[in-house]
Every structure is written in C-alpha cells, then in structure tokens.
C-alpha cells in the first residue's frame, strides 16, 4: 500500500523529492508513465508502478529513454496526461525524438522529468539536461523545494496542455533524493477515454496529424508557444523574491541551490543586504520579472550547479535591458566565484558571498578541514569501491582477466554502464580500458575489431549488462555482425537492472506493474543475428576462462558469451546461501610462497578477511553469500565449501 495515493487533502507527509513529483503527477491525473532506470530518477517510475494498477495508470520500464518518451507521447497524443522520467544523460538518448516532438506539439499534458546528477554521485558524467529545453525550445521548470516539487509537477501538466507542448521539469540529486514535508492536494476522479484523433484539418493541433512538418509552420508555432510560456511565467508563483528592496547584491538561483543560498545568507547574517530571487521557470526567462529585480541593484550573483545556464540567459536579458536598468556586475561561473564542476553546498555559496562582499569569513577554516580529514582517515576503515560479496561480476572479471593475461596479446575490455563499470578498479582486476555511454562498449569494440588492416592484433572484448543489451547493446551488435567485425561481446546477465534496484527489463518474465510478460531470450536474439553464442555460469571459473580464451582465439566475426548468474543482492535470491564456507587454518598458506594471500590481496571479496594475528584468512559469515567461488581460487584447498542442507518442513 503506497501512501502516495492517500486521498487526504491537506495532510502532511514526509516525502522524498521523487515521491513529491509522483504525488504531483497523481494529483494531475497522470495516466501513462514510462522511463528507463537511472539514478537519481528511478524512484519516480518505481513509485508509480506501485500504485499504477489501483489508480488505473499505465506504467512501464521501457527499453531505453527514447522509447520511454515515445510511449509517453502516445498517451499524450491520445489525450491522456503522461510523463517520462530519466536521468540526465537519458535525455541525450531521447533527444532525437524530443526535437521532433517539440515541433509536432503534444495534446494531453506531457511532462519530461530529467533528474540531473551534479557532482556525478551516481553517474559517469555531469551532463546538463537544462540546455535541451533551450535547444529544442520547450519550457523548463525547476522546483526549489519539496512542496514545490509536488505543486510544480501538477502545474506542469496544466501548462503543457495550455501550450500543447511538452514541458521539462528538471530535478537534481539533492532534490530527488532528499526529503521534506509536503502537503497533499486532491486526487482527481479517474475516468478518461483515450483516442488518437487524426482526421481533422491537417494542421489542427488537436485533431490533425502529429508531425514536425511543415517545418517552417511548426517551428514558428513552437516559438509562439514559447512566447506564451514567457508571458505566463511573468506572474508565476514559483518565482519568488526574499530580501530588501535595495539589496547590495542580488542572488538569482533555482532548484536545490535555492536551499544553499538561503542557508548562506542566513549564516552570514545578510538578510538585510542580500536579496534572493528564486526562479522556478528557468526557460524561457520572464523578462519583465527579471527587469524588476535586476533594477534593484548593480551587483548580481548567479548560483547554480555545473554549467552557467541561468547565468548566460540572465546576462543576455541584462544586456538587452542595459539602457534601462544600467550596467550590472555579475558574479558566478564566469568569474570563478561559483565552480563549474561538481555539486554546490552552503559552504561554497558562503565563501562566494563572503568574498564578493568583502566579509572575512571562511565556511570551513583550513585548520578545521585538515583536522576533520585527519580524523576521518585515522578513524574509518579503508573501504574501497568494490563489488558486493558474492557478486557474479567479480567471478566474471577474474576469468576475463586471466584469459587475457594467458593470451598475452595485450587484449582489453571495452566497458559499459552498470555495476561492472567498476571493473576499471582493482575489484574488477582493472580489466576495463574504456567506458562511455550505455551500449557504447560494444560499439567501440566493433570499431576496434575493424582495425586489423592497420596491423591491430589485440584481442577485444566488450562487456554489457543484460539491461544495457536491450537499451543500446543490440544496435552495436547488429552493426558489428553485419560489418564482420571481430570481437567478443560478454553479456553479464545478472537477471535485472541491478545497479538501479532490480527494475525489470525485456529479458525477464515480469513488467513494471508486476504482471507476467513475455521475455526475450538474449542468446536467441544474438544467434539470430548470426553471432557465435556461448552461455556459461561465471561461477565456473575454469570453464568460463577456457571459453573466453577459445573465443578470443577465434578470428572469425562476432562472438557473444553470456555469463549468466543472478545478482547476489537480487530480491529473488532472498539471501539464499548455496554453500557454507569455512577455512582450514592449518592448510591456509597465508603470505607464504605458493599463495601470498591471493584471496584477500587479489580476489578481495569483502566476505574474506585477513586475520593479521593468526596470519590466515577468515570468512565473514555475516556478509558471505556462500557463492563458493573463493574455494576455487584458493591454491591450497584451505577454503572449503559444503552444501547448505535445506530443512525439510
């Protein structure tokens, strides 16, 4: 039972930002929701999937973000309110459709919710989705707190319907994943009928055909919509000002930076000296509103994360208005007051403010910072980024690494996006030598595989997760097979989108709503393309290693090796142990010649612990998942596995 569908108007709930967004969508009567998992966005579709059936909402985890946006758009075209959610770089994947969708326009209210990850806490990029709003000419909203996240989402659907245009509502990690109080509104009655109308006048936005052409006409119409949005934004309640009438300095900000700015002003006691203009509608900027606040002072600081999106757009307006409002001095990214990389926090804003206003204050004195660092280093156990105990990836990369070392031709692995990206680190025996976007490992490998004519003779592997395979791995494989590239694609099939929380994908027999669904057999897909396909259990180290060696010696075409073993954390596994692991301390060679702690020095499953006093390995029974793999890497046979006996009821 999800509290998100409680129909108690005015009740207060502590909600995560993503949940607040979902509640807003529910209050708006959303009927179609699709997305692809990606931190920090995943909880949006996940929360909707939990209430979907009961509230009569179609929810799906799509194969990728582009398809998700298309699925959501279909709902809109049929008159329903729809949303699609994704992480920042998901918008890149969807952007081609987005460009055309912005031109054709929408019908039922449609909201695109990208959740950006400044500082790349859970990403391998610091991508900006805001620029897409400007690039494809659609309105952009950014909630500044949790109540707003809910209210603004609801309003975004209304705005979309008013403009007949998709609206982007952009969140960030600290908005999506932090929590705050949210007051609930009413849930609408749920009776809608879906129909796609197409036999009206061809250019009719509600009954014509949905297409981006004639381009000149549609593009002009699109800009009209943007102009209308700009007018609506002039009086939008999500744009607020706090501060004196004539501040010494005006901060303009949006999103989570609102909270940092507010805190910084308070910490420095600048309530009477600094004004805070918080914008909820960040594209297109409402010029009259900006004019009003820019006129208050000559010193403007823009506080935002990553790229100077707001800063650039405000500066353009200020330049245009200069004859009326005078010349302004700007502080922000361009003068280095606010960093252009990484997340912001209150301290960064405090320092920027103190420096700008000549206040002698340091958010964190160096001495304190050093001391804190020292305490942290001394007091915390060193825990490197690593695969979980019992993770199939550790076993897979063990075999991949060993196969490549034995082969000795400087072979390498092109990586992809998933937990297995960590194989750039010692936990994956540093096997990965490239990693970019979803599916690109196999695309790159396919390219490397065509360089033979230039003397390239290194064996090439790519690794690709099962969900990644469906997302964008397939086109790379098709391309490579057709062009007779020579490489081995290793599909690390752990039965789910594991890194983001086990969302289903088309390879599984279940969908987002929990219904049974036809599954697509990865091996059969690959075989039908004409690739040589092998399937192995990565926990069988020797067989896996042998197979990899055979495949990389096979110089003919594309080979696919599916390493199938369920994620150790998978809910389906229910922490079930296959083996009880024990150590025979008398046999353990420890640091002696013949072993030198291969299990705790190289293999490094967190379930294996080096006992410094006894100079033997111990099993941490609390976290050991009983996969049994370490028994096979122990050269002395000191690690013993015994099958866990199932109790008969």
């Amino acid at each position: 039972m999800s509290y998100l569908k409680d129909n108690i108007e005015g009740a207060q709930y502590l909600l995560m930002g993503n949940e607040a967004i979902v509640r807003g969508a529910l209050e708006a009567g959303v009927k179609v929701a699709a997305g692809y998992p990606g931190t920090p966005s995943s909880e949006i579709i996940e929360s909707l999937s939990k209430v979907g059936k009961e509230m009569d909402i179609y929810v799906e985890w799509s194969v990728n973000e582009k398809v998700a946006m298309e699925v959501a758009a279909a709902g809109s075209f049929a008159g329903l309110r729809s949303l699609c959610a994704m992480k920042q770089n998901g918008v890149n994947v969807a952007s081609d459709f987005l460009l055309h969708l912005a031109a054709s326009g929408t019908r039922g209210g449609m909201v695109l919710i990208p959740c950006d990850d400044p500082g790349a806490l859970s990403s391998v990029n610091e991508g900006e989705s805001r620029y897409f709003a400007k690039l494809v000419e659609i309105p952009l909203l950014e909630p500044g707190d949790f109540q707003e996240a809910k209210d603004m989402t609801k309003w975004a659907f209304e705005l979309s319907e008013e403009l007949r245009q998709i609206v982007m509502l952009r969140s960030v990690t600290r908005m999506s994943h932090a929590s705050g109080n949210v007051e609930f509104g009413k849930l609408p009655a749920s009776h809608v009928h879906a129909e796609f109308k197409y036999d009206g006048f061809i250019l009719d936005p509600m009954e014509g055909i949905m297409i981006s052409a004639p381009v000149g006409y549609r593009h002009a119409q699109q800009q009209e919509k943007l102009k209308k949005a700009r007018e609506l934004f002039e009086d939008c309640a999500f744009n607020t000002y706090n501060g004196p009438d004539k501040p010494e300095l005006l901060i303009i900000t949006s999103s989570a930076c609102t909270l940092y700015s507010r805190e910084a002003i308070s910490m420095l006691g600048l309530k009477d000296r600094v004004g805070l203009l918080k914008l909820g509608t960040t594209w297109p900027l409402p010029p009259k509103l900006l004019k009003k606040y820019l006129s208050m002072t000559d010193r403007i600081m823009i506080v935002e994360e990553v790229l100077p999106f707001l800063e650039e757009n405000v500066k353009i307006l200020a330049a245009e208005m200069a004859p009326e409002i005078g010349v302004k001095t700007f502080y922000g990214k361009n003068d280095g007051k606010i960093p252009m990389v990484g997340e912001l926090n209150p301290d960064i804003v405090v320092n920027a403010l103190a420096q700008t206003l000549g206040i002698d204050y340091k958010a964190m004195p160096d001495e304190y910072a050093n001391k804190a660092q020292g305490v942290a280093m001394a007091g915390t156990p060193s825990r490197e980024l690593t695969f979980c105990p019992g993770c199939p990836h550790r076993a897979s990369f063990w075999s991949i690494h060993n196969a490549l070392e034995l082969d000795g031709r400087k072979g390498f692995v092109c990586g992809d996006i998933g937990c297995y990206t960590m194989a750039i680190l010692p936990c994956g025996f540093s096997s990965l030598k490239t990693s970019h976007s979803m599916g690109s490992g196999s695309g790159l490998a396919g390219g490397f595989g065509k360089l033979g004519g230039f003397g390239f003779d290194q064996p090439i592997l790519s690794v690709c997760g099962d969900s990644t395979f469906f997302h964008t791995g397939i086109p790379a494989l098709v391309n490579a097979v057709h062009h007779e590239s020579n490489f081995t694609m290793v599909i690390l099939d752990n039965s789910g989108t594991a890194m983001t929380g086990f969302q289903p994908h088309p390879g599984l027999k279940v969908n987002a709503l929990g219904d049974e669904a036809p599954s697509i057999d990865i091996a059969e897909v690959c075989r039908s393309m004409g690739a040589r396909v092998e399937v192995r259990d990565p926990f069988d180290l020797e067989e896996t290693r042998k197979t990899i060696n055979q495949l990389i010696e096979d110089k003919q075409g594309v080979k696919v090796l599916i390493l199938r073993q369920i994620c150790a954390l998978s809910p389906e596994k229910k922490a079930e142990k296959k083996y009880d692991m024990t150590i025979d301390e008398k046999i353990c060679l420890g640091e002696n010649c013949g072993c030198n702690r291969v299990c705790t020095r190289i293999f490094r499953c967190p379930g294996l612990v080096w006992d410094k006093e006894k100079e033997v390995t111990r099993i941490d029974e609390v976290i050991c998942t009983g996969c049994g793999v370490c028994a096979d890497i122990c050269p002395a046979g000191a690690i013993k596995k015994s099958s866990v006996l199932k109790e008969v009821a």
Binding site: E405, C593, I602, I633
Partner: protein, 371 residues
Amino acid sequence: MSVFGPNELLEDVFQKDLCIGCGACTYLCPYFRSYRGKTAMLFPCTLDQGRCWAYCPKVEVDLDDLSQRFFHRPYDKDPLGFHGSVKISRAGKQVGTGSFQAGGTVSALMSFALNKGYIDAAVLTDKDGILPVPRLVTDPDDVLKCSSSKYTASPTLSALNQAIKEGHSRIGVVATPCQALAIAKMRSNPMSDEDFTDPVGLVVGLFCTWAIDFRAFDAFISKRIDVNKVTKVDIPPPPAEIMEIYTDSGKVEIPLDEIRKLVPNSCSYCIDMSAEFSDISVGVLEGRPDMNTIIVRTKRGQNIVDEAEKEGFLVLDNLPKENLEHLMWAANNKKKRALIKAKEDGLINTSQEDKRSYLRVRPETVEEIIS
C-alpha cells in the same frame, strides 16, 4: 647465493625475453600459468623470495655449484657434461609398441621404471594436435601414449609441480636440457626448506639443439596445413635438414632454415645439448633411425639401465667412435656459440652487486670452452 622473487623473475627473465616456457615456475602458486607455450603472470606478487625465481633455469644458474651438488666436482669443459658410459640403445621386447621416434629408448626406460617401482609417477609430454601437453602418468601403459618427439618448447615441469603437490615422492621426468637444469635447481632446495626431501626419482634428459616457439610455429604452419590434421612431426637426423610434418593426406617437408627462424631467443644462450643434469640422457643416432644414443651419468641411472637391459626392456650396443666424436663436436659447438653470445650480451658472470646473471661458471672453464 641470494634468492629473489617474482618481480625479479619478471625483470631477469621475462623482460629479457629469456623465458623458454619450461613450466618450472607454474602451478606453484596462483600467479604463474602456462598457456599455449607461453608463461604468463596473472597477478602481481609482492614476495621478496619465491620458488618461481629460484627454480628458473634462465637466471643465476651456477653450474659449478650444481655440478658439485650432483656430480661432486666443478663444472668442466667436457662437451657432454659429467658422464659415464655412452652407448647406443633401443626398446627391448618387453616394451609395447608406440609411435617412437628412433629407438624408443625413453619410453622403454620410463615404462620400465614405473613398472618396477623405481618411480611412482612419470612426468611426460603428450600432445594435442601440435600443442605439447604436460602429462602426469602413473600407469606404465600410459607412457607409450606420450611417445614421439615434440619440437616445440613445452611447460612439462608444470606436471612435475602438480605431481609434487599430489604427494608423489619418486617422480620420473623426461626433460629437455633446460627443464633438467630447472629440476636440478629445484632439487638443490634453494629456498632452504627445512622439510625438504628430493621428490625426483629419475631424470631422463633429451638431446636438444633448440626448441621452437609454439605460437610462432602454430602461426607458421597454420598458413600451410590444417593443424588439426597433423599426426606426427619429425626432424630426421642430419644431414637431412628438413622437418617432416605428417597429416592424414601425406607428408609436408619444410626446410630447417625456415624452422630455425621460429626458435626463441632464449635457446641461443643455452650451453647444454645433451641434458647434462640428468641421470640418463637420450638422443638420436646419426645414420641409424632405429637406434638412440644413450649417456649414463649417475649411479641410479646406471642401475636402471642395467636392470632394464637384464629384464628385456632395453637393448644396448656400443657407440661407434666416429659417432661419439661427432656428438662431442656438435655439443661443443653449441656450448661455444652460447657462451660467446652470453658473454657479448653481458648475461654471464656479471658482478653480483652490479646485476644478476643468467649463468655463472668459473671464467677459466668458459675460456677453455671458447678457445
């Protein structure tokens, strides 16, 4: 002499391209493995001392020390090393049939030794297509399955390490000169292990002028024939100057000059043609494809040869004088060439503090051989 570890093995042997892939360092630990004729280090090891370095026949081989240990005298200029009788031989009637090269003496000796309990396991070299495969054998009947010569370098000693791990204590090994050298180093207990007992019961050495790099050979002949169909490879005794490759569809002859290009660099520093650190050495006999040359070096070697002859496993005869002279001449040539090259390349008798050597032997012995 100080013993070093895996990192020095990389530095002294791997990086100098001296590794012949004998297998001495493999299967002792999780780090060194052999694959398709090449030895690989899978993961870094941090130990200062290790058996991998200590057993390697390509680093700090102190010939005088080893000779003293096994033959109770320093190494000298004799082209055939320390030895007793040199004769000719072939397998006797008690030996079953196998696809022997020449007289089948090696198979005869090993099956006899296993049969009569002189050894409890035999470390041999089998083949899979053209790939040499180390084999640990305990049934005398399995010895013959491994007969016939392999000309590519083989990690045979990985099977010796396996045999020791399995607890065999009188192991017989058929070894090339470099492998016999590694066994000698291993038997001298370089790690000063208090519990050490010599696990080797018999070393039958093979004459060898050079071996071929497996991967280079595989690439070379794959272009000419289907390697999966190779049934036998032979290099008939001089003056033939060819390698014969037999397949289902006949014989292919390849001039030895082409094959010599596939010999690893490491072999050019090897001073040993007759496997001097073995109990018994066996090779071909020029002009007599049905017989072998046999050199007996140790008491236990002599004992086994005598008993094998008595029991009908081995037939012996005298070696014609001109054959012995030619054998000595060839063996001496190999020594000379190798010592001159090792000297030129600074791989012999370097000052200990300065850098480690491949080989150590009294300088006067070196001069005696070279001159």
